[in-house]
Amino acid sequence: MNGAAGTVLLRMAGASVAYGDVEVLRDLQLEVRHGEFVAVVGPSGCGKSTLLNLASGWLKPQKGTVERPERLRMVFQQDGLFPWRTVGENVRLGLRHVGDPKERDRRAAALLALVGLSAFEAHYPHQLSGGMRQRVELVRALAGDTDLLLMDEPFSSLDYLTRLRMRAELARLLKEQPRTVVLVTHDIEEATQLADRVLLLSDRPGQIRDEVRLEVPRPRSATDPEVVRAMHAILTKLGLESDLETIPAPGRKEIA
């Protein structure tokens, strides 16, 4: 991985995007530093995906600038795997930068073992469950030699329990192969459990209206007091929870 901790890997300065008359993002300011995990949450249609498309270079801002690394990997909501390739071949495609085929096979096998899918190497994606497919997509993205990882609601098509498992998996994988991550999600719990910083996007035109930082190091559990505190802070900022409805403070007996 290039770049020392603290160098800015992704910078958006005054980036604005409009589709015709519809202003999607206005004057966006964003800095993501090397090694950071930044989550972006917001209501649907607020331009979260547009933000990622700017970061990936798929879209150019009409105003402002986007500084981004030349090469990066993106994890999509679903169906990002090539269905005409087996699981093993898909992962090996993620290892294209590795010249030696033997080394590529070895690393692909190791990556599949990491997510417990070694037995499915010769299967095709459509023969796997949604959660298994997303696991393969995760390791295919992590297989790259790129630092920046963009994730567009990667777990939103999965059921709740699978989502919890995938979060734990992602946190564990990132511990073993650290990356800089920008995660876009509408799931506040997911954002607070995984990220160092959670950015709140406003309604269209999207602007970053707030930021919540988490100080407890990753990986952390979904019920970590810090996560619960951050969730409460975010829900309050969104006007969905008032400060009067206090959450049980640590030590106080919970009423069942």
Binding site: S56, W58, R71, L72, R73, M74, F76, D79, G80, F82, P83, W84, R85, L93, G94, R96, H97, Y124, P125, H126, A141, G144
Partner: protein, 257 residues
């Protein structure tokens, strides 16, 4: 149920339809509702079939027809798929050529028969031309639709992975359209088989279509029936052969979603 008994049962059920038809046919022919000169008995057709197969004529006719279909079909696929790729990928090409493709697709290939004879005489060339006119445009149309409908996520992933140029065609575009193209191959091969019979009836001196016409001219309705049986059976076999393409592991995804 054990696998073999289940297989036998399915084979029996599959034979029930043809057996029923045969019985009905034999019944109608035996009761003499129609004069035997207009309605052949299945037995007469079976005899005619054996006779024609023994003489080798039916075999030669079959080979002639299959050769024409193979030429016309292969030509339409090898020209039609690239044309479809171009039209599917380029908006300019689509706007310029799609109306034309639709025009020719709606034009019955049989309407080309007079021109085919005027330009190419009789024999292989007019038949191949007619098959080409029948198969080329559907191949172009369906390939271009398949290309235009490839989810953009595949191209985005390819970009992340550094796949570009001819590799993009080989790694993404072609495998992504393969299931739909295979389905089109099945449809157009059937179409080609229909057209070759019509072409040979008018512009042929051999082939199964000519056999049909020849039997009619000689008032040999037993041989007419025999030629029709062969035409139908080969049509089914052709489709069964092309269905095998859908068993290729890397295209299964297109049929199982």
């Amino acid at each position: 149920m054990p696998k073999t008994t289940r297989f036998h049962r399915r084979a029996l059920i599959a034979l029930a339809g043809p057996a029923l038809l045969l019985a009905l046919w034999a019944g109608v022919a035996s009761f003499g509702i129609f004069p035997p000169s207009l309605f052949p008995h299945p037995w007469a057709v079976a005899r005619g079939l054996v006779l024609e197969l023994r003489s080798g004529r039916l075999v030669d006719d079959t080979i002639a027809s299959l050769f024409r279909v193979a030429c016309g079909f292969v030509l339409s696929v090898f020209l039609g798929v690239p044309a479809g790729l171009l039209i599917g990928r380029s908006r300019w090409a689509r706007e310029a050529f799609l109306p034309l493709v639709n025009f020719f697709r709606s034009l019955s290939p049989l309407a080309w028969i007079p021109f085919a004879i005027l330009w190419l005489g009789i024999g292989d060339p007019p038949a191949i031309f007619l098959i080409f006119m029948a198969a080329f445009f559907p191949v172009v149309l369906s390939t271009s639709a398949a290309v235009a409908n490839i989810p953009s996520v595949y191209f985005r992933v390819a970009r992340d992975l550094g796949i570009e140029g001819t590799e993009l065609l080989r790694e993404v575009t072609l495998p992504a359209i393969a299931p739909q193209v295979i389905t089109t191959l099945r449809v157009t091969s059937g179409l080609s088989w229909l057209v070759v019979v019509a072409a040979e009836m008018i512009a042929g001196r051999d082939g199964l279509g000519f056999a049909v016409w020849d039997a009619r001219n000689g008032l040999r309705i037993d041989l007419l029936g025999a030629a029709m049986v062969v035409i139908g059976v080969i049509g089914v076999v052709l489709d069964r052969v092309l269905v095998q393409l859908t068993r290729i592991p890397s295209v299964r995804w297109g049929y199982e979603r």
